[in-house]
Amino acid sequence: MIVGEQKPLEEVWEMIKGHKKVLVFGCNTCVAVCHQGGAKEAEILAGLLRMKATQESVDIEITNSGIERQCEHEFFETSEDEIEGTEAVLSCACGIGVQFMAEKYAKPIYPALNTTFLGAVEELGIYTERCQACGQCVLGQTGGICPVARCAKRILNGPCGGSTNGKCEISKDVDCAWQLIIDRLSLLGKMDVYETLAPIKDWSADRAGGPRKLIREDMANE
């Protein structure tokens, strides 16, 4: 899922304080799982912003609501009126939702979150990165652990010389991805694979190749 983290209140306030009417708009899928951008979090954020407005003596009407997903047209149907009726929207979605709304509505759409990574729920309250959507998956060669997303140097033939006690050179709190890969290859009895050189990667399927697009022609033509 996509993980996000709420921006500091001050930063959000600076974006919206010039408006008369703002809708704080939650997105109830990915960013609700990490308790940062769902309708519930939108409600709490709206409350904090109302308090801020009172403290600053700024006259601004702040409402809140949310939908299931801000990255698909159909989910907006029930909220068209409240979006039309507001001067600006503070979207609690990831960067995708914010942009999707901006394309749909001719009014300011501000981000309440910093979109942080594609990750998993390790345990309640702990979310960690797993994928960078590089467009050419190498997990089949690396024991199911991604060196692109989980090695600080995205080294395809690791580990580098900075791996110590299973941890990355950047922090004792970060696992060395290549230690994990080697442990996993050992477990699977595939250590012979380790000495195979990973070829030079074609990054054109990554961000480097420009904005990416997937077309299912069978569906898109319907």
């Binding site: 395809l156 033939n157 580990p159 006690n165 050179e169 080697i182 380790y194 000495e195």
Partner: protein, 310 residues
């Protein structure tokens, strides 16, 4: 091993069966070339080649390539260090061609410390290639005369290709496999991480020799003399992938403050003497960090002077 394949003096010395001695200079944090000239003057008669570090510890400095060219203009033999952190494949190959245009005949392919250690922690890192893929790249450019994109190179680079090895990083069980992988990628010489834990290094070398890897690559043992017990503690605790045994810290700490540097030099010389007995060690890479003036003393005391003429 075979005869030298490149005009590299370092390769010629190694292939003639001599112990090679290399050292390194860190470029200055400015555009004044004199620090490079001064450091090189201090060591030039006692080493075969001089590595120029590439923005080491991710601290921005004068470029390795420019400093290597400076050494060439002094008639010296540089080893161009190149990290994959800061440049993509276009820039790396471009700089290799630039270096080759100045007849720089040695290159050391590295990934580089993470940028969070340096003075531009908020910068991007590139790592379009990794260090093994950079080895492959240089070998392709040299041996096939082709760029990665496939186009022919007019006057291909003639570089003796090296890599680093850290026998002290984890996981230990793949450290020999990793060396084999670097050799498969094209490494012809290795300069190791600073060796303080000689027992562990000897164990690693034994495994290297057991696999016959010492016959496929020249291994230069890396050494950095300690200036003080404080430096030893810092290296032990703060520098990634460094293995500094407690005994060594104690030995330095038990010397009076004004004698610790001398003790550090003594330890370095003793280490070289011991490493000479280790099968597969083909030379020494003495990294006297901001202490280049001590290199001649170490080289002479370790019986590595005068340097051979090739």
């Amino acid at each position: 091993m075979n005869d030298a394949k490149t005009p590299s003096k370092l390769e010629k010395i190694l292939s003639a069966g001599h112990y090679a001695v290399t050292s390194e200079c860190g470029p200055p944090r400015g555009s004044d070339p004199n620090p490079i000239i001064e450091k090189a003057e201090l060591i030039k008669n006692h080493v075969d080649a001089i590595n120029i570090t590439d923005n080491q510890t991710s601290v921005c400095r004068m470029s390795s390539l420019a400093a290597c060219i400076r050494l060439k203009t002094m008639g010296l033999e540089p080893v161009l260090q190149m990290v994959t952190r800061d440049r993509n494949r276009i820039a790396l190959q471009s700089d290799i061609l630039g270096g080759a245009s100045w007849d720089i005949h040695n290159i050391l392919c590295l990934s580089g410390d993470h940028q969070s250690f340096g003075d531009h922690a908020s910068g991007q890192n590139v790592h379009d290639l990794d260090s093994m893929q950079l080895l492959q790249t240089v070998r392709q450019m040299r041996d096939q005369g082709k760029l990665l994109g496939g186009d022919e190179i007019t006057r291909p680079p003639e570089m003796f290709v090296g890599a680093a090895a850290n026998p002290f990083a984890d996981p230990y069980e793949i450290r020999v496999s990793r060396l084999a992988k670097k050799i498969a990628a094209g490494a012809e010489f290795i300069q190791t991480q600073c060796i303080y834990n000689l027992d562990k290094f000897e164990d690693w070398m034994k495994k290297v020799v057991d696999r016959g890897l010492h016959e496929k690559v020249y291994i230069l043992a890396g050494l950095t003399p300690m200036k003080s017990a404080g430096m030893a503690r810092y290296m032990k605790n703060r520098v990634p992938g460094m293995d500094v045994p407690d005994d060594l810290v104690k030995r330095l700490a038990s010397a009076p403050k004004d004698k610790q540097a001398q003790e550090g030099i003594k330890i370095c010389i003793e280490s070289i003497e011991r490493l000479k007995q280790v099968k597969g060690v083909a030379g020494f890479h003495i990294m006297a960090i901001e202490w280049e003036e001590k290199v001649p003393e170490i080289v002479e005391a370790a019986g590595l002077y005068p340097r051979p003429e090739v």
